[in-house]
Symmetry: C2
DNA sequence: ATCCCTGCAAAGGGTTTGCAGACGC
DNA sequence: GCGTCTGCAAACCCTTTGCAGGGAT
């Protein structure tokens, strides 16, 4: 499935969600969804806002926050708090479930999958009489370095500002 | 080991850390450490600050933040961001490693242990050439309710403000 | 035409910072 | 006594809120 096909899918999902919840289908909301699904990377509100301003979509910060809440509600976006007081988001459709390793040295993010996470969620839910709806798992650390003392991990992962 | 014995241990650890890093051993710093290890629960900065004020230890918020950073550095305290913009802390000595379930309905925290977390950390570290120093795992959800529609979980867990 | 949504800017809340005075060393 | 730590309050930053105007229905 190409990224354009994904964009069509998520737009449909969003339309359906908005209609079911009697929310208006405003151009700003679709512009934000489109911007998010035009990139693969994790992002924060300010980055998204700046990107859109550069493309002459002038949405306000308030609308970005409002729309992100809607996208969270309908599961098209995931919100992260990687230990900082700055929320990070990522698109949630078209990617398999994954968790994150965060490098404390270079602030980069590396994704990984492990089926045991899902096992833990269901088992702990049963054990504790708790219905686990979502989770967050972050592994923090530092990259092992190769002989030239360069970061082995960073070559493969998406750089982050801050 | 009693809690008083633990307090002696952590104080020694802290002294050692301060000396090694040429930091001053001020009464405020020890008062904060003592206050933290007088309680078992998770706490935020404001709660800690208020508790100390009630006990007539008048430390400033700035000193609380400063000291918490030191305690984080020497591993006597763990910092959490449970998806909100409010940092929560907990003592890190004298408890076994555990993770957290957070109830989205009643905002309570339930602790659990699972050895698979440690397995994932070491395996993913090896696989990704990454040295995992610490991690955070939170399971979010809602309690299963019993017949009277009361929260089954809350009975057993520490209530949180907010 | 209704009234929800947007844009703007101000307010809010947790955390950080700057500076003068205090005190550990 | 020197240099760092403390206390206080202002500054800071991300996020939320209030309000008037605009656009989806």
């Amino acid at each position: 499935m190409t990224n354009e096909e994904i964009k069509v899918e998520v737009r449909q999902t969003f339309v359906q969600f908005l209609e079911q919840n009697q929310q208006r289908k405003t151009p700003e909301r679709f512009a934000i969804l489109d911007e998010i699904y035009s990139n693969k990377e994790h992002f924060d509100v300010e980055t998204l806002f700046e990107h859109m301003k550069q493309r002459n979509s002038r949405v306000s910060r308030a609308t970005v926050y409002n729309t992100l809440d809607l996208l969270l509600d309908c599961g098209l976006v995931i919100k992260h708090q990687f230990g900082k007081n700055l929320a990070r988001y990522e698109r949630a459709y078209g990617f398999r479930q994954h968790d994150h390793m965060i490098c404390n040295v270079c602030n980069n993010i590396l994704e990984f999958c492990d089926p045991r996470i899902h096992q833990i969620k269901t088992m702990m839910g049963d054990l504790m009489k708790f219905e686990v709806t979502n989770h967050s798992l972050y592994l923090f650390g530092k990259p092992q370095t190769d002989k030239e003392n360069k970061c082995v991990v960073c070559k493969h992962i998406v750089p982050l500002k801050d």
